[in-house]
Amino acid sequence: MIWYYIELAIRSLKRNVALTLLVITAVGIGIGTCMTEFSVMYVLLGNPVPDKSSRLVVPQIDAWGPDSRSAPGGGAIELPDQLTYRDAMALMQGHKALRQTAMYGIGPNVTPSQGRPFHASGRAAYADFFTMFEAPFRFGGPWSPAEDAQHANVAVLSARLADRLFQHADAVGKTLTLDGRDYRIVGVLAPWQLIPRVYDMSQNAALDAEDVYVPFTTAIDRQLRHYGHDSCNSSPAPGWLGHLNSECVWVQFWAELPSAAAKSDYRRYLLGYVADQRAAGRFHWAPLAFVSTLPEWIAQKKVVPDEVKLGTLIALGFLVVCLINAVGLMLARFSGRAGELGVRRALGASRWHIFCQCLTESAIIGLLGGALGVGLTAIGQASERALDGGDGVVIRLLYSINQETVLMTVGAAVLATVCSGLYPTWRASRVQPALQLKTD
């Protein structure tokens, strides 16, 4: 039966080409615009480490007290989203999670064997970082926890930097010069980019992955300058040590728990730590600490920029207008065919049959509109890339068409068209056979 419907549908689509094309275009443009905007939001809101999402957690500690929150009572309490150095170190030493890492952004200068030195982005972290965030290695591997403890001069490179410095050769064991000091390369990552870059969203959720990683302990020893968000509630004492001992929050901290259920234990541990700090005279307020899982953290941070949200909203409004347009056009299509449908009714087709036939037609229009939408999405994304004026990894990942987006686009188009075709279809199936035959 379905093949009969499809055959009939194709015939009738051919009969009124102009009107059919108009409906397909309306649906296609609407879906294309919407998907161009939505796909960016979809990527940004995605979970880059899905198999660990409820086990990777961020601790937050009330290091500044209620006085630092200028609007008391207004909305939920917001704690600093990074830790002070001393709190991060205390949590590292506590070692209460399966894995944990404190980290901060660095910007060392790389001296290549030939040519001028250049600026690179980097990250100081603990060995567990790579396992926790599932960084794939091309050569070698992470440094060992022992090397963390020894403050060893070791480094892990990104694929991009390794290719630039060593021309695709295995760089493990070679020497890297950062800020005039030598580091032994222990690992080279395969191309790797998290979007959003969950482990550090203090500045922007969609930043390029770093080029070089060194042990946190080494970076602190070497006083590698911090690049990132640094927030202080009072002026720290001068010098590197003054900064380390201050109440400035600038260190990101992540813990991997053995199970999702361990979250409450971890929070209890944190509250215990904060209570101890209070007892020691550091805090003068009721202990307060939060633990957020990775999806909670993404939801909590403003990951999607306002421009993208607004663009998606406006595009959605546009889609609604296109669909209203399509309803009108489909009404016109079906009512123009009342005569034909009347004949089919008179020859014994039930209302249900007519309904199914018209619905098949809507679905086919939706399918074609979806195909047009996929093409327009590709064009839209290419234009957005051009407007962004960059060719970074993040931009390419943000604006890319994959199987998922194609399926979503076509699915949304079919669903939207079938829904908007329901009323015209229902009206068409109410055709009175006698009435139609009489007037013709």
């Binding site: 009107l19 200068n109 002026s235 421009e307 607004l310 663009g311 609604v320 207008v321 407007l387 004026g389």
Partner: protein, 405 residues
């Protein structure tokens, strides 16, 4: 007479009229909000910074390894930059307008105040700052050489004298002369305002970032010795391109063990700083264009359909003495009734939508001009869209009335 006829006939075509009216309403609501947002983006993008934009370029400098006496090296670099032919002045600072990396700090009117009186972005300048930045001094004076002190990496300190923008001065002292007044950046250091700058934009592009307003800027008499410094170079008109190359060569001659990055003119900084606003504006403009096109096509489609449905009645009216003009007028008036009703609904929808957008995004209220302008555009477009089907209707022969279908 025409109007009652139109209302009668619309009653018989309720659904079509409803759909097109709804479409027009949504179109208007979206278009006027989009135009208002685009206008806000454009206003940001062309906002003057107060600096001498056409003649300024900048670079970021870092030395590698153990650079030794940073103060001597910075002074040596600056002297070299100032000696380049075509350069008016140069200086070392910690940040650059619109560039994104910044230091924001609180300031209070007395040291015991619990909450900050205001927030400000900070630029480090020396005695050359006024001519290197090309900002305009509105009152007071610029720093003297002996007031400038050194700031090392990881050192947070505050100066005894400060120069602020007019905007910040007015926010702090709305009712008195701010010159000579004392403010507190920390509990221990009193700072006197010695000069007011007409205008200077903070190192960010939003109206407010982390509590700091874009026009509220302070200049500290500090020399940044943190080994990550921005050199700002101001040149004679038209000398940017020639000085950029020579200046870099000179710096590398002095000491090749350095990394020079982000060598950009003011215009380039501006261009990249407003990428997302520019992109958002283009997207909104394209969507609005498509939206208006689709709505116009919808009007053409529906009106054509009605004309073909009513061929006999139109013929009858023509036979009874209606002129072509009357038929034309009929369809235009009918369209005006539908589009007008839709526009009224659209105005309400647009205002509600705008109120919601303002409450959930960092955008300002839409002005009445956009609502009226949007309504005008949509009504004019609908009238234009109806011309072709109406002309077809007017050309229907009166004889058709008597022909049997």
């Amino acid at each position: 007479m025409q109007l009652t006829l139109i209302v009668h006939s619309l009653r018989r075509n309720k659904l079509g009229a409803l759909l097109i009216g709804l479409q027009i309403a949504l179109t208007l609501a979206i278009v006027c909000n989009s135009l208002s947002i685009i206008q806000q983006h454009l206003r940001h993008m062309v906002r003057p910074t107060g600096f001498d934009e056409p003649s300024i370029w900048s670079l970021r400098n870092q030395w590698i390894g153990e650079p030794g006496d940073l103060k001597a090296k910075v002074l040596e670099d600056l002297a070299a930059l100032r000696s380049v032919p075509g350069v008016i002045d140069a200086e070392a600072t910690n940040s650059f307008p619109m560039q994104g990396s910044m230091w924001n700090t609180d300031l209070k009117l007395n040291p015991t105040q619990r909450f900050a009186a205001s927030q400000t972005a900070v630029y480090f300048v020396d005695e050359h700052g006024l001519s290197a930045f090309g900002v305009k001094l509105a009152a007071g004076r610029w720093f003297a050489a002996e007031e400038v002190s050194d700031v090392h990496d990881n050192e947070t300190k505050f100066p005894a004298s400060v120069i602020v923008t007019r905007s910040l001065a007015q926010a702090l002292f709305p009712h008195s002369n701010p010159l000579g007044k004392v403010v507190y950046f920390s509990e221990t250091q009193a700072t006197r305002i010695i000069g007011i700058v007409e205008q200077a934009q903070a190192p960010f592009t939003a109206d407010i970032q982390e509590g700091s307003r874009v026009a509220d800027v302070s200049f500290f008499p500090f020399r940044d010795l943190g080994n990550d410094t921005v050199y700002v170079v101001r040149t004679a008109p038209g000398q940017i391109a020639s000085t950029m190359k020579i200046a870099q060569d000179k710096l590398f001659q002095l000491d090749p063990q350095r990394v020079v990055s982000a060598v950009r003119t003011f215009a380039q900084v501006r261009h990249s700083a407003y990428t997302s606003e520019r992109k958002a504006s283009v997207i909104l403009a394209v969507v609005c264009g498509l939206l208006l096109t689709v709505t116009a096509l919808g009007v053409v489609g529906l009106t054509s359909y009605w004309v073909s449905q009513r061929t006999r009645y139109i013929g009858m009216r023509r036979a009874l003495g209606a002129r072509r003009r009357d038929i034309l007028g009929y369809f235009h008036l009918e369209n005006l009734v539908i589009a007008g009703t839709g526009a009224l609904l659209g105005i309400a929808l647009g205002i509600c939508g705008n109120l919601w957008l303002v409450s959930s995004f960092s955008i300002t209220r839409m002005s009445a001009a956009f609502i009226c302008g949007g309504a005008g555009i949509v009504l004019a477009l609908c009238q234009a869209a109806v011309v072709w089907p109406a002309l077809r209707a007017a050309s229907i022969s009166p004889a058709l009335a008597f022909r049997n279908r």
